[in-house]
């Protein structure tokens, strides 16, 4: 059924412990032990016993409150209730530290390394795509340079041919 909160369980257990303890140390048992005194002072014995019971209960309850206070136990137990509630769907045993810190640390670091891997992957892909474009631009540039070099060469050859002809013609001219 519904889970009982740990704090409530704790209080119930302490109460039960006290009830049973007091039940064991009953007035009957008390007077058996302090028989003579009880015969002399029955009312006094009753009052002392009652005081014994209330004092013991008060001390133990106060101790529990102190421990709760000191360790902030109520909050801690309530947070544990929450954790257990959140995890109750899972039936099989959960992970526990292996005793080898290096081993356990792998899963702690994994998400960040996975993130880094994905970032690097994206980075590489992006850079590869960019470089692809650059490479195409370089190839186009090379073709462009070749074309220009060809054009320059053609013009240069034309001029050289012209220069040769001019020289020939000039030579012809010089003939006496």
């Amino acid at each position: 059924g519904t889970a009982v909160s740990r704090v409530k369980l704790l209080d119930t257990m302490v109460d039960t412990f006290l009830q049973k303890l007091i039940a064991a140390g009953s007035y009957q048992r008390f007077t058996d032990c302090y028989k003579h005194f009880h015969q002399l002072q029955p009312e006094m014995t009753q009052r002392i016993y009652d005081k014994f019971v209330t004092q013991l209960q008060a001390s133990i309850r106060e101790e529990i409150s102190e421990i709760k206070e000191e360790g902030n136990l109520e909050t801690v137990l309530m947070s544990l209730d929450k954790i257990v509630e959140d995890g109750k769907k899972r039936k099989e045993p959960a992970w526990r530290p292996s005793g080898t810190p290096e081993k356990d640390l792998c899963s702690v670091l994994a998400p960040y390394f996975l993130q880094q891997r994905d970032t690097l992957r994206r980075h590489v892909q992006k850079q590869e795509a960019k470089n692809q474009e650059l490479a195409e631009a370089v190839l186009a540039g090379r073709r462009q340079v070749e074309e220009l070099q060809r054009q320059v060469q053609a013009r240069q050859q034309a001029w050289q041919a012209l220069h040769r002809e001019r020289r020939e013609l000039a030579a012809v001219l010089k003939e006496p």
């Binding site: 530290p97 810190p101 356990d104 640390l105 670091l109 960040y112 390394f113 880094q116 970032t119």
Partner: protein, 32 residues
């Protein structure tokens, strides 16, 4: 024995986070 247990348990709780902080710093520096 008890102190050892508490010491180990405390380290198990705190050290992964501390190591993680250092690792994240390293990864960031590497990235930069």
């Amino acid at each position: 024995f008890d102190e050892i247990i508490v010491d180990i348990a405390t380290k198990r709780k705190q050290y992964p986070r501390k190591i993680l902080e250092c690792v994240i710093k390293t990864l960031k520096a590497q990235h930069e």
